[in-house]
């Protein structure tokens, strides 16, 4: 069903990341600790705004640099997948702006542990999994590191970190739709390509969605409670 194999997929990531993908990865690795500190120190509307906008940038970069500039040569569906990523970019930008106006902040720390676990999976777990898989496939370590999929350059880790953040912010349920669509698509790709690591995306999506629904005090707006969205 897909016009590429697992071998080709990782060779694409390898060449993409060797050219300019590493700049993006390093940019985010530098930025995220600062963002984490900001959220911890002052989990108010400003931190929420920056978190969503940084995430929006990641979705935009994956849409443009990965899907349009790189993967479209290999898979005609990349054109449509890019549009999904651009749509989510707009959603996240809008949600960030809305939060500043309404004073929405981060949610109560009940979901913090799960969000933290998901952040670790997206930022480190998935790339490490790819790295080890590539080493096992006979790649040298620099090539294996380049072939790994990273937050901000590859869709999978970006989606996982998005779930992590959505668990912590008050945002419209529509922001959940595309990440969930992607996590189900990742499950299918995992099956078609025999890519065990990508079943984790499906699992993360399902767990995040269930947790979000359970913790939603008001149907329709995940995380928007009667307190006008202010942090408790």
């Amino acid at each position: 069903m897909l016009p590429y194999s697992r071998e080709i997929l990782f060779s694409v990531f390898q060449s993409y990341q060797s050219s300019y993908g590493w700049l993006i990865v390093l940019f985010y690795l530098g930025l995220l600790p600062g963002l984490w500190w900001l959220i911890r120190a002052a989990p108010g509307p400003v931190a929420r705004f920056w978190a969503l906008w940084v995430l929006a940038l990641a979705w935009a970069l994956v849409g443009q640099l990965f899907f349009v500039k790189t993967f479209l040569d290999y898979d005609f569906l990349a054109r449509y997948e890019a549009w999904l990523f651009f749509a989510q970019t707009l959603g996240l930008l809008w949600a960030g702006g809305w939060g500043l106006r309404s004073g929405a902040a981060f949610r109560a720390p009940g979901s913090a542990w799960l969000s933290g676990v998901m952040c670790c999976i997206g930022l480190l777990g998935l790339p490490l999994w790819d790295f080890v898989a590539q080493l096992n496939a006979g790649q040298e370590w620099p090539a294996a590191l380049s072939a790994a999929r990273w937050f901000g350059t590859a869709p999978g880790p970006t989606v996982v970190v998005t779930f992590a953040l959505l668990l912590r912010v008050r945002a419209h349920w529509l922001l959940w739709v595309l990440p969930l669509v992607w996590s189900f698509k990742a499950g299918l790709v995992a099956y078609w390509l025999g890519l065990t690591s990508d079943y984790s995306l499906l699992l993360v999506g399902v767990v995040a969605a269930i947790f979000a629904v359970i913790n939603t005090p008001h149907p329709g707006w995940i995380g928007v409670g009667r307190d006008s969205g202010r942090a408790k």
């Binding site: 016009p3 590429y4 080709i8 060449s15 040569d73 290999y74 898979d75």
Partner: protein, 320 residues
Amino acid sequence: MVNESSRARRRFLSHCRNLVAGGAIARLGAFSGLSLGASSLLAQDDRFLSKTIPGGEESVPSVGMGTWITFNVGENETLRKARLEVLKTFFELGGQLVDSSPMYGTAEAVMGYFMEQLPEQESSLFSATKVWTRDEGRPQIRDSLDLWGLEAFDLLQVHNLVNWREHLALLRDMKEAGQVRYIGVTTSHGRRHGELEEILKEEPLDFVQLTYNIVDREAEDRLLPLAQDRGVAVIANRPYRQKQLFHRYQSEPLPDWADEVGCTTWADFFLKFIISHPALTCAIPATTQVEHMRENMAAMRGVIPDARQRERMAQYVQSL
């Protein structure tokens, strides 16, 4: 325009192959359109099953090559080197028909790069690609020609019947203008067989491509007999169901009587079943490995099953 000197040379070589192998036709049974070719070395003891394209004298080896997934390797040097060896082996063992499509990502560009590396094989290549767009087809066909580095394709097909009325009209015009030698339509996964049947009945085609293998035999009921009646060559795609047949049956033993039908591997078994159908012209398995290419090409050599043996083969697979 088709380069006439190149075409003439190709036809001459094809004719030579058939002359060399002509003596063994009777051994292959009573199927119409069968002939034996030989590899590019023209060795007497290396004969293989070729099939005549209906309506003419040209024949093609009954095993061709698909490029779906396998040749979509972009500019990765390691993967390109590996695939080039696969293509070299294909030509060395007498292969000619290579099928691709604009839908297959970088496969056409990779194929063009390979033909630059193998200029001596240009006369062997029977190039088949597709037009696959809802827009006007000519720009896409021009792009495909650039990517393959060819002046004209041997066969142009409408991919998965997309916008087929407009594209077929264009392909007919191109054929009349001598810009392509054969035209056809394709389907896959057994989809839209009803529509394909109508097209076969109403449209003048040279080729039709459909899914046919030892477990997907729906085409036997109406499409294959109709193609035969209408004098249309048939290309079988998904001969292994994209590896599924190996995953399912490779752990099982071949039947005791496998040697009676000339089979020593499951690849033999699956491919010989397909190419021995009298209506079938060519099967197009895709592979990334030289060894698998050797197995594929071996299937068109040796004993070719007759109708009774074919049924026995299908029943055996069903029984597993």
